[in-house]
């Protein structure tokens, strides 16, 4: 299954079990933009949970309402999430987001695509184990 979609803010590339989202340059993400981004992602996924590789290297502004939305509504149907970053700016952005928002799925940032893919594969197995534990304190 291969699918491609594009909106004002991002390009979506869907292969069998991986969704690759590439954010466009110079876009400022507010709540309205975040809602469009998540809506389009969910429509593409058709209710199937996937691994998501999110290329945020060109992002500079994601405001708080958008960050809050991504953390709750935006976490639906994601098995594991890897941010592709380009230090220092997007490294700081992802670190800030992950330290202020707890996401229910395994999430991490990488500057190399191969490492990100590696993480996603391993995280799927880990997530399956964690899901079986109720209230994993």
């Amino acid at each position: 299954m291969k699918k491609q979609h594009e909106n004002k803010y991002a390009i979506y590339l869907l292969t069998d079990d991986l969704l690759h989202i590439i954010y466009k340059k110079g876009k400022s993400i507010d709540l309205e933009a975040a809602q469009i981004i998540v809506r389009d992602r969910m429509v593409i996924q058709e209710g199937v949970s996937l691994l998501v590789l999110c290329d945020i290297r060109e992002l500079r502004i994601v405001n708080k309402p958008a960050r809050d939305f991504f953390a709750i509504e935006g976490s639906l149907f994601i098995k594991a999430l890897a941010f592709l970053i380009d230090p220092p700016v997007t490294d700081a952005m992802s670190e800030f987001y992950l330290s202020t928002h707890r996401t229910p799925m395994p999430t991490a940032s990488f500057s190399k695509k191969s490492e990100a893919m590696d993480f996603l594969q391993k995280a799927t197995m880990l997530a399956a184990v964690i899901c079986m534990l109720p209230w994993n304190i």
Partner: protein
């Protein structure tokens, strides 16, 4: 040079000074650069937003101050897009003189992106006799700081056949004044018999309560253990958990859980084809009637009406 290190560091300094004075509504343009100064700007913007949000939920809970919604900036704009009037607060917020603003194009107070948005909006509303709407705009101060605001925009006409004008205003949510001094202050101040919170939350307590918050967020689809058990698991007691959670997040543990579950449910209803029953179970509701009732209470519509 707008992109030189010196220039950007000056802007950072200016923003830090504003923050030191308690003004958390500014932001800085991060530019396209990918360097250490741009990183600092991005971090500063995000920290500023987090502080602003925490003031709203923590600063207001149990506060003896009355929260106020005050008009921060107000502009009257003519059909040509020129500013006819501004209030004094606008001048101080944008760090500009009254004479600089009045008679100049309104777009001059906005960032480039907002200028485009505004011109489009202005075109569509000037012909309407009376209208009310809102839109997000980013203002820039004369010192180069950015202020992102949700603006109320009203068009209105006078008694004569003069062309319509636009009233644009922004609101500032503030903690407001404390109780007045003197005789009025005594009349308004709570008496000795009124309840004063006696529980003192330590940093450790606050850390534990935040952990409970994170635990709920990451386990929305699981049933919440009894609060007593949850408190013991986290190394605190039920009373501190209940009281502290309300203090920190302005709501009860249970209401918070329901609210976060409903947020997810709403998105699932809108953008997935899953059945309502599946959605209810996915977000942690055991009973469908309970889910429908809670949903209607929060969003004013039943889950099924959102699908139609």
């Amino acid at each position: 040079m707008p992109n030189s290190d010196d220039f950007r560091v000056k802007r950072i300094k200016q923003m830090l000074l504003e923050m030191a004075q308690g003004n958390f509504y500014h932001s800085l343009d991060p530019s396209d650069k990918n360097d250490n100064v741009a990183t600092l700007i991005v971090m500063l913007n995000m920290v500023n937003e987090e502080i602003r949000a925490s003031f709203i939920h923590q600063g207001f809970v149990g506060s003896k101050h009355t929260p106020q919604h005050l008009v921060q900036m107000a502009f009257i704009i003519d059909t040509m897009g020129m500013i006819e009037m501004v209030n004094q607060n606008t001048c101080s917020t944008l760090s500009a003189f009254h004479t600089e603003l009045v008679g100049s194009p309104f777009v001059n107070t906005l960032t480039e992106e907002s200028q485009r948005k505004w011109l489009k909006k202005q075109k569509s509303i000037t012909n309407r006799e009376c209208s009310d709407s809102t839109m997000d705009l980013v203002f820039k101060t004369s010192e180069g700081l950015l202020i992102s605001k949700n603006c109320n925009i009203s068009t209105f006409g006078g008694k004569t056949e003069s062309p319509n004008k636009i009233l644009l205003s922004t609101i500032l949510f503030t903690k407001g004044e404390s109780f007045a001094k003197g005789i009025w202050g005594n009349a308004l101040r709570p008496g000795k018999e009124s309840k004063v919170p006696r529980v003192k939350l330590s940093h450790e307590d606050i850390r534990k309560i935040r952990e409970v918050h994170d635990l709920i967020i990451t386990n929305l689809d699981h049933q919440l253990p009894h609060l007593k058990d949850l408190a013991h698991q986290m190394g605190t007691n039920e009373f501190k958990l209940k009281y502290g959670f309300k203090q920190l997040y302005g709501t009860t543990v249970f209401k918070f859980l329901i609210q976060e579950r409903l947020r997810k449910a709403k998105t699932l209803i809108q953008f997935s084809s899953l059945s309502l029953k599946t959605i209810a179970h996915m977000v942690g509701f055991k009973s469908i009637p309970h889910f429908s009732r809670a949903f209607k209470e929060k969003y004013g519509n039943t889950p099924s009406s959102l699908r139609k």
